[in-house]
Every structure is written in C-alpha cells, then in structure tokens.
Amino acid sequence: MTTLPTDTVREASTATALTAGTEPTTPPAKKKPRLVGTTSWYVVALFICAVMVVPLLWMITIGLKSRTAVFDIPPKLLPHEFTWSNFVKGPQVIHFPRLLLNSTIITALSVIGGVMTAMMAGYALARLRFPGRKVWFYLFVGSMLLPGVVGLIPLFQLYKSIGWYDTWLPLIVPAFLGGNPLFIFLARQYFLAIPYSIDEAAKIDGAGHLRIFVSVMLPLTRPAWITMAILAFQASWNDFLNPLVYLYSSGKWPLSVGMASFVSPFAGKTPDWSYYMATNLLYMLPPLIVFFAAQRYFIQGLGSLGSTTQK
C-alpha cells in the first residue's frame, strides 16, 4: 500500500507528461546520431518488429492454406493457392455469428457497467465528504491485490444457488457493482485533479450532485472513462476463465471459449488449423481495430498505472 501514494498534483502532471510522451520526447540517447549507432538501432528495431508481427502474418498464411497443405512436410511458409473459403467455413464450425453476438452483448454490458459504477464511486471518493471515505478507498485499492481465484469457488456456488449458473449474469453483473477496483482508483485520481471551484460554481447555479456529475464531470473526465472503457472492453472480450467456469451450454459461450473449443482434441481428431487461423483473425479484429483507433488511450491507461505510483 505504501507504493500507492495519493499525491494528486504529481499524478496530474505525470498524466499530462504521458500524453505528450506518445511523441518521441527523449532525453538520454540523442547524443551521437552516428551511422553505426543508427544502423544497429534499426537492425534491432527490425528484429523486434519481426518477432511481434511474423507470427500474425504466419497465422494469416495458415488461414489461407488448404486444410491438408498445413501438414505438408517440409512446411511451406507461403500458401500455394489461396483458400478464401476458410474464412467462411472456419467460422461455421463454431457458429461464429452466434458467439460473436454473445461476446458483443456481454462485452458491451460489462463495459457500460464497469465504467459507470467506477466513475460514480470515483466521484464520491474524490469530491464528496462522507464518513468512511478513506476506509472505502483503501478497501477498494486493497482489493486490487486480492487474487481473482479466491472468489472463483464461492461465487460459483453462489451463482449456482441463485440460478445464475449457465447464464451471462456472472459475467455482467459484477461489472455493474464496481467489479474492477483499478477503475475506481483511476477514476478517483482523475477526479481529484479537477479544480473544486467548478463544482462550487455549478452549485451556486443550483445544480445537484447528479447534475454536476452528468453535465460537468463526465465531459471533463472524458480521457479517463475512454481509457477505462477500452481496458474494460479488452478484459471482457479476452476473458477466458470466467466464461469457461460459468457457462455450460455452447450456445451461450462467448468467442474466447468457442475459439478454445475449436482446437481442443476431441477423441484424437486433428484440429483444422487452417479453419482455426482464419476464424482467429476474425476474432482478433475487434480488439485490433479498437487498438489502432484509440492507441493513445491504451498507452495512457497502463502508463498512468505506472506514473501514479511514481514517487
């Protein structure tokens, strides 16, 4: 807990430093743009990029190969003929449209719930005085360190006893109840940085707390909740363990569990890798699009976790 100081001013300033930091703003290594240094930098850069990108490119080539060409020995790096039909037949194997719809609904609702409750709690913790304010803040922050697995078995039994097993509720309802304490922490930090004169002015104009929250605070904290929404989207779209445990019927699965079922060995049947890889690309597309569309928020969100703890 000592590593999480609540120094607001510093937090706010480092957050701005970060936003600016998406451009190359760097002190140390600009001393000698010598040719050797530059060349070796680009060689290393190329290597890093290759390690990150080649597996994905290879995935696409597998997705384009015919089902038998995948098992050619020695393996060929590029497909001989492009089997575009994999992109249709592959998804059919796991009823892709159905799972896509499931994932979309689950993810959308958990994003809305997670962001909404975290913003509300953050607002109360940062800008309203009430008994227990500090205690709750520390309880929320402390619960970040609680391993998720502790809840798995008791909650599984709880959901079973109230008829939530094999429904989407265990994947959605916790989000509406402040399921991610990191978001509460981020929201609070962001709210603390907003000048109090703004609320005072709004109060003089006769605005209540709900009004201040919705029409004054939400617009001012846009970067914070966009960051949270992205992190929540990613967490929900990528979640595997929870749906694996809480959902039994394959018709209710999200894509993560469906994709995993694709290649789990059923009675010695070889998985259709070309079908899988074609479908995998489709499964990756939404996070990819979100990432490239909102890159700076990704960097900001995780970076702020680092910089808020910076002494």
Binding site: T3, T14, A17, G21, T22, P24, T25, T26, P27, P28, A29, T38, W41, Y42, I48, C49, M52, V54, P55, L56, W58, V70, P74, P75, M120, A121, A124, L128, R129, F130, P131, W136, F140, L146, P147, V150, G151, L152, I153, P154, L155, F156, Q157, K160, G178, G179, W237, N238, L241, V245, S256, M259, Y276, N280, M284, L302, G306, S307, T309, K311
Partner: protein
C-alpha cells in the same frame, strides 16, 4: 468545505453504493466463504463437512500432485518474472530513444498485449508444433537445432514462458512511462560529469525508476503465480506434471471434467495456499524494498 454537508453524505452513499455492494458480495463474502470451504470436504452438491486442517494435511503429505504443482509454479515465476523485467526494461529503453519510426516499434511491441489471450496462445501452440510449426521451420532452415518444445518435459515450461514473454509489451509500457518521468537535467548533469552509459544507467536510470520496479516485481510475481490460460491451452499441464501449475491444479480439482466429483473444499485449500504465497511475496518485497528502491527526501 461544503455548506450542505448533509446532502453531500447522502449523495456520496448513493454514488458509491454499487461499488460497496459489489465489494461486500464479490470480495468480502468469497474471502470468508472460501476460507471456510478450505476447512471442509465439499462436492458442491451435499453440504460441506468440516474437516479442520485435513485438506492441508492431505496437500502437504499425501497428494502426489501438489508438490509438482508448487514446483512448476515456482519454476514458471522464477523463469518468467526476471526475464519479463529485464526484457521489458530493455525494450522500454530501446523505445525511449529519438529515432524516426520509434513509435511503430513501440506500437508493434505492445500489439500482442491487446490481442485475446486465447487467440495468441492457440496461435503459439501451432507455431511450436514440432513437425509443421513456424519456429522449427525457421530454425531448420537456418541450420539451427530444433526442439519438441511443448511436447518435451524439459522444454515445456520454457516454451510456456516464451509464449508469455510475447506479451512483454505490457511490462515495457509501464517502464516507458517511468523512464519518461525521469528529469532530463539528471542526464545532462551526468553527461557534464563525464558519466558513461553504464554509470548513467546504474546511478541514474535504475534508482529513479526503482519505485516502478518495485511495483512491477509485485504485479508480475502475483500475476505469474496465477498463470492459467497459457498452461491450460498450450499443454493442459503436461507432459506429465511438468507444466501443471497451481492454478491448473485448482481448476481441475474444483471443476473436473464430466464424471469426476468436484473437490471444492480441497481446491479452496489450494487457493489459500496460493493466496498466502501471494501475500508473503508482496509483504517480503515491500519489506525489503527500502534496500534497493530510491526515494527522494522531499517532504510530502
């Protein structure tokens, strides 16, 4: 500070209510309940039967799978955490330089982190396929020795860790934020004093980012102790027990495949062993942090 403190309190409770209810239901209740279940024999159908420390006795003395699970978890943590920190920091320093295209490198290095775990892990499962996988294909063409990777008891865990390290961009991004917060003047002063790159790194960079290093050690270790997706999808614990980490063992005891009886009490005991290890790691890291983290003396 506020004139109408009463309405503040009422509003505050309304705003915070969902999170408080959530805390009680999803943190408080499971914490107590799982501690109780750890002391019981429970199959999820009939009522739990109190057995005291019986589960723990069974874990430490008779269960042939528990020590291998603990060993596998320890091996994974010791292999993954240092590599992740070193590579993550190296990558962050590399990406913290002024070159055209550095943003492309940064973006691509972070890319694997945003992709769904199931998608990337399964992709790697095929990359590591000994016969038709990409890695052996490349090694073979370069005339380098190939390996059975996930299918070899010796290489399975290093392979799992290699797959995890593909997501090292997550570590990098936090270090990058820390590096950018180091005041430029310090580097200028060091240059004026004639400090070389190594001295600069050990005397300035490392001390200045040591609080973040501490955070990273804690976050990475606790996350690594709870690794589930990679061993579940890549190896399902095999070959033998070589990658059967604690989380996988908990999952298999608590949620076994059809036809086997769930041992929820026993799995809860394992959860608590894991939980206690995590608390111990955090406490020890924090306790000894003053030995190696730098803090400036400015009063708060």
């Amino acid at each position: 500070m506020s004139r109408n403190a009463g309405s503040d309190v009422k509003a505050a409770y309304l705003f915070i209510a969902p999170a408080v209810i959530g805390f009680l239901v999803f943190v408080g209740y499971p914490l107590i309940r799982s501690f109780y279940l750890a002391l019981t024999k429970y199959n999820g159908l009939t009522d739990p039967v109190f057995v005291g420390l019986g589960n723990f006795r069974r874990l430490f003395s008779t269960d042939p799978a528990f020590w291998p699970a603990l060993r596998a978890t320890g091996y994974l943590v010791l292999l993954y955490v240092p590599l992740s920190l070193v590579i993550g920091l190296a990558l962050a320093m590399f990406c913290n330089q002024r070159f055209a295209g550095v943003r492309v490198v940064r973006t691509l290095a972070y890319l694997p982190v945003v992709l769904p775990a199931v998608a990337t892990i399964t992709l790697w499962k095929f990359i590591l396929d000994p016969q038709v996988g990409l890695l052996n294909t490349i090694l073979d063409r370069l005339g380098l020795p190939t390996s059975l990777w996930l299918q070899s008891p010796k290489m399975a865990m290093p392979s799992v860790v290699m797959v995890m390290l593909w997501g090292v961009g997550g570590t990098m991004i936090i270090f990058l934020a820390a590096l950018q917060a180091v005041p430029t003047e310090l580097y200028e002063a060091a240059r004026v004093d004639g400090a070389g790159p190594w001295a600069t790194f050990f005397r300035i960079t490392l001390p200045m980012i040591s609080p973040i290093m501490l955070l990273q050690v804690i976050l990475q270790t606790t996350a690594a102790l709870q690794t589930f997706n990679q061993p579940k999808i890549l190896t399902n614990g095999g070959p033998g027990f070589s990658t059967n980490v604690l989380m996988l063992s908990i999952y298999n005891n608590g949620f076994p495949s059809l036809g086997r009886i769930p041992q929820l009490g026993y799995a809860s005991a394992q959860v608590w062993v894991l939980f206690i290890i995590i608390i111990a790691v955090i406490a020890l890291t924090a306790k000894f942090s003053s030995l190696w983290t730098y803090s400036d003396n400015t009063p708060d």
